[in-house]
Structures are given as C-alpha cells and as structure tokens.
Subunit: 412 residues, 2 copies
C-alpha cells in the first residue's frame, strides 16, 4: 500500500519565525529514505483549536501523521492532549515514564519541577517512543485508519528518537523502498547544470534525476524505487556515469556530505596533513574541517590572522609585501599559506585574505574580492575571486573555494 | 482590520527535507514585526495540483497568502502559473523585466540560457517586487478578497525582496503594529526560567511574555500591541524590569543577537581587544566573532591548536605542563589563553581545550569535558564543563561558555 504522510510541526516560535523548522526537514528526509511519500508539511502555533483544524485536514489527505513539538513540560505544550482528543483517546499516566523522567534529572544533577511529570501522560494504547536525549517521551498509535506519531521538538531529541524509535516503527508500514544518491557539484551554476542535462532528466522515470541549488553549489539527486539496495545501485550506476560525462570535472563526490568531507577523505587516504591561515574567513575553514569527527588525523591547526600585524608576526608575511601589495593581495595570500605550512609543519596549507564587507578596504578593494592560496612542498597556487557583496556569502564561498582548490590538487 | 496570513513554501527539496525552510521563518518574522497574525505555514512540492489544493485551503482561512519558491527558470518552477490560475489571472510577458534579467547575466559575466526569460512572465495587473540579488522578480496582487505575494526561494534573494519590497507593500495593509523585545538568558534551563516566572507570564495579556529554548540558551520574548514604538517601550519596560529581578544575573542582553554580539559591544565600548586559542572548538569562536561586521575593531586573531605540538610550538604551552597534565587540563587551558594573549598582543584572550568526541582522549577524559580559560592583564580564570556527548553540542556549548565568561568579566 502506498502511504501518504503529512508532517505537522507545533510551536508558536516556529510560526512566528523565531526558530527555523529543522525538525520537519529531518522527518521528511527519514520518510523519504523509507520510501514513504510526504505531500505536505504544516506549521501551527501552540493553539489547540488551530492544531485540531490542521489535524482534520491532514486526516483527509494523509494516512500517516507525524507531529513534532509540544510534548514538553510547559503550559503551552498541548500536542498530546489535542491529538488524543482529535482521535477520541484518553491520556493515561505512566508511572514507569515518570520514573525515567525523575532519573534523568538525577543523572544531570538538577532538581525536577513538578510540571515535568505531565510528560508521563500518554494516549491510551500507544507505543511509547523512547527519548534518549531528554525527558519527553514520544508515542505512536493507530486510529481511524491513520498512523499517528508524536515526536519532541528540540532538534537533538527529535533526531535521536527518529533514528532510534520512529523509523523502525515506520519501516514496518512501508513495503517498498526508495534509494538515492547525491552527486555534489561545485563551480557550476544550477541553470548551467540543468541546461546540460535537461533532456536527459526529462527522459527519466525510474530512476529520476533532479537538481537542487545550495549556496555556491549544486546537488543532483538520483532516486530509484527498487526492491533492494543492490538493485537500486545497478539502476543508478548508468545515470551517475552519464552525469560524470556531462559535468565530471565539477563533481567533488557522490554521497559525500560536503567539500570538506571530500578533502578530509583525500588527505586521510594519502596520509597528508593540512593547516590554514585565515583572514576574511575568520576561522570558518578550521571550523568546517574540525566539524568532522576524526579530523585531528589530518588537521594540525590554523591561524586566524585578522589584524595585519598578526599576518606579519605570527605567519611571517614579509613587511615589504604587506606594505607594497597590501593585506588583500596575491603575494600576501601566498606568503600566508607558505607561513602557515612552515609554522604548523604540514604537507598542505591554505590561506584566505579578502574583503568580507560591509566596506571596501583602505586600498579600495571591493567587497567580495578574495585571494586564496594553497601551498605544498614545491608549489603555491593562488585563485582570485569575486564572491558578491554579502558578508556571509563572501565567507561561505571563499571557504568553499579553499576546499575546492585542495580537492583539485589532491585529485590530480 | 485584523489580517490573517498564511505562508506557502513551494519546493520538492523542502518537502523531502533536502533543505531547511529558512524562508518561512524569515517571512513569519517579518509579518510578526508588522503586527500581522500568521496562523499556518504549509510546505508543498513542485506539483501544481497539490499546490492548488494548498492555495484553496489557504484562501478559506487567510486573507494574505505569501508564497516562497518556484519562481526560477527551471521546468519545475510552477508557482506563478499555478497561483495565477487559482485566482483566474493570465501571465503577461514583461519586456522590461526580461531586459533586467539579461543585464544581470551580463554584469555577472555569464551567458544567459533562454529558459531564464520565463521569469519575466508575471500575472496581469500585479505589482512587481524587485529582486536585487537575483533574476526572478516577485509580484503581488489582490483578487477574491485576498492579497497574494510571491517571493523567490533562494534565501538571500528572499531576504532582500522581503525587506526591500514585500514589507513596504504589507505595511500598507496593516494598521496596528506589534513590537517585541527579546531578553537573552544564558546558563539557566527553560523550565527553571519558567518555574520562576510562570505565574507572572500567565497573568499578562498585553504585553505578553513567552520563553523559547535554543541550544544551551533561553530567550524570553516580550510582545506589546501598541500604536507607536514609544508606547510599546513604555508598556514593556516594567515587564523587563520584573524579569531582571527574577533572573538578572543570567541575562546577557535585551535585543542583542547573540553572546558574541554582547561581547563585541562590551569590548568596543571599553576599547579592548581579544584573541583566542582553540582546541576542541576548532575555530568556532573566531568564526562567530568574525561573523559580525566590524569585528576587526576588537578581534585581532586566533590560533587553532588542534595538534598538541601546535599548543607547544605556536602558543608556547610549556612541555612539562602538557606532559604532566595532558592537553585537556586546566593548566593547559590557562597556558593557552596566556600564550594567545601574548602572541596576539591583546587585552583579553580565551582558550578552549576539551574532548569533542566521538571518543575519549588518551588520558581517559570523557567526551564533553572542556576547560575554558580567559586571560587578562593580571589574572587568568578557568571554567570546567561537561557539555554532553554530542560533538556539535559540545563545540557550541563550549563556545557559548567562552563568550559568557568574557561577558561576565567585562560586566563586573
């Protein structure tokens, strides 16, 4: 049976835009992995009438309803009460769950306020979904031909419960499976990619191929409906090959998480180490590589040389280069990368220097002008960029390019 | 007249959880600033039938419909066609808009593919909303008692159009205004904050006071409906005072964006400079402070000393401290901060060293153990933390604490 799922996220803070709805994205990605179609997400505030109305609409167009949020201890956490009511169920107090909540507070060394115990009230006859990272248990039940799952709002708790309890529950409902692979592309715009592949994309039905634009990158997603992963892999292989033929030089990986993951894997494979010297990116390159567990095997360290004096004193950029060419220049970028490589004793070092904005620098370089250099044993290469005029974008695109340059160097 | 708004975000990549819906949050925050009530957000894929069904539901419960996404040049961008049809309007080709699109490509030095020109087709009689960051214009029209606004999907384009064109358009529809202030709290959990303030929160109607939990922090939002900002400020002042009485020590600011913004403002006010020496946070502290425009006035630089050798060689942590106490220890944290302060010639330096995970360190320190030190002229202080066992959380919470320690020091 083909299921239709709908995600209802509950919370006034979502509705008013105080926080971004990462929960819906996480649940949707999980459903898509399981081959369950999602047709709508709805966001509604902490308001029982409007939540109930949203549930009624969802009932009419879906047979799996997954809620996120509103399971906590505060007075505006009303999801369980409202959903139980919408499906004619009572809430029952679960002493075992109450004990778990008390135990959680003890373990954290915090005193528990009484309102926390209302989290132990759950719809009659439900399956309890364990919360490994917090106090609010989730639950699942079937009623009126509909499967209802309620998951907590805090993203960390949601993710743990999704993987640990909700996906195994949903797996049983879903017969068929969707498999997908993501081809990651850097250095080519979405419409240019689509222009090269439009006819081919339109000709496909299973697998399908679709482009998604991210900041400065494009992702092509290949999706196959199949009985097994092996069968799906076989179906997807010729599609991936075709994409490599069309835009191969720009592909930095298939099913890799990010440019930095691709760089990490290449460095590890080759037994090489890296360092960085960052001016305009201000620590973003170091932050991105150290986001990855295990990165200490390849990343030794970096210098954020925001002040010009730090470029000279710590990285050893010669004063006459700084005087003659300025901090934002190719010679400075090269000297920064070479200095970081020596200081950190690594095989490779990458540097960035540029104008992130909001204003031009004192030498009149425009916002978005960035030099990136990569130093290796015998050679230093440099790339000059114009990354637009938005501070966040300049920094993100500069860091993307830094990783792209290392990747291209290591892929040679 | 009290308007009711609904946000419809269009895009299969949103529906499948490939990307997170920041657009809806941005639009919702803008509506809330304008005092327009938002009751629902809906997400629907690039599917004209289901989009049309979502529009019909929105028509029945809202009189302002704002769509995001689906205005681009690719074959699955169907928002304008579908909305025009749902409201019985034709699409008209606008030569002026086509010229702007051609001009945009010229300016970027890229060649334009023909599919880009379909972006110049807009519903008859609409107001065109200018796109200052991209090619797809937005539009607004009124039909069947409903105001419809269509905004682009790419977050940068959306934000620019929202501020530049959509909000001025909506401002005319909204008579009354909502004003709000956010009280930012660090170091106290949401339920502890609510426990102290529950009765008071429940007693309020205008202004209102509501708590929101973020990673490691709590935000209390005060919201007043008023005729003018001055009147709202006067209404909110006693509420803010009451919150200060209850949890004052944990408040790091009102209407400041983040802990790092609070630190930036304090440093600037006092004419002080800072540096950092990061191990487990791996550049995150530097990245966060340099996210802020103008941060070069207070931030001189940092060292990411991921490898132990870098702690010794670059920051000058004595070898015997590293040998005796290990890299993750209070003496190392202190020596790192003092070393960074000397190296970068700043008034203040902060350091972090800890176990971000996934594994314990070689001395058996648990994941989540972090030491943070702040060095100033005469004194170095240190805080030991247990930040849980999730890598991202450990890093985020450690960076939060680093900024909190500097803030408390400067607020004395």
């Amino acid at each position: 049976m083909e299921h239709k799922a709908e995600i209802i996220s509950v919370g006034t803070e979502l509705l008013l835009g105080n926080i971004v709805n990462t929960d819906a994205a996480d649940v949707a990605a999980a459903l898509s992995e399981l081959g369950i179609n999602t047709y709508y997400h709805t966001v509604v505030g902490d308001n029982p009438e409007r939540l109930k109305a949203a549930v009624e609409i969802a009932k009419s167009r879906a047979d799996i309803i997954i809620t996120t949020g509103g399971l906590g201890p505060t007075y505006d956490d009303l999801t369980k009460q409202t959903l139980a009511e919408a499906f004619g169920k009572k809430l029952i107090f679960h002493p075992d769950e109450a004990d778990k909540i008390r135990g959680y507070f003890e373990k954290m060394g915090r005193s528990m306020t009484d309102n926390n115990l209302q989290q132990a009230e759950l719809p009659e006859g439900c399956t309890i979904l364990d919360n490994s990272c917090g106090t609010a248990p989730g639950c699942a039940f079937e009623a009126e031909g509909c499967h209802v799952l309620m998951l907590p709002g805090p993203p960390r708790e949601l993710r743990a419960m999704l993987r640990g309890a909700a996906m195994p529950y949903l797996q049983k409902l879903s017969g068929q499976q969707l498999y997908s692979k993501n081809i990651r592309i850097f250095g080519m715009g979405e419409s240019a990619v689509e222009d090269k592949l439009r006819d081919y994309m339109n000709s496909l039905t299973n697998p399908t191929l679709a482009p998604y634009a991210l900041t400065g990158e494009v992702r092509l997603r290949v999706t196959a409906k199949a009985e097994s992963e092996a069968e799906a892999d076989e179906m997807m292989a010729p599609v991936i090959e075709k994409v490599y033929e069309a835009v191969g030089d720009y592909i930095y990986g298939v099913d890799v998480d990010s440019l930095e993951s691709a760089v990490f894997a290449l460095l590890k494979e080759r037994g090489l180490t890296m360092a960085c010297a960052e001016s305009c990116t201000g620590g973003l390159i170091a932050k991105r590589i150290t986001d990855l567990p295990g990165s200490s095997a390849v990343f030794r360290g970096g210098v954020v040389s925001y002040a010009t004096e730090v470029k000279a004193d710590v990285l050893g950029v010669p004063k006459d280069i700084l005087d003659e060419h300025g901090a934002v220049s190719e010679p400075t970028a090269r000297a920064m990368a070479e200095g970081a490589r020596k200081l950190m004793k690594t095989d490779i070092a990458v540097s960035t220097t540029g104008v992130a904005g909001p204003d031009k620098d004192e030498r009149g370089n425009e916002v978005g002008t960035v030099y990136i250099a990569v130093a290796t044993e015998g050679e230093t290469v440099c790339r000059k960029l114009h990354c637009g005029n938005d501070r966040e974008r300049v920094r993100t695109v500069a860091a993307h390019n830094a990783f792209d340059m290392i990747r291209r160097l290591l892929s040679k």
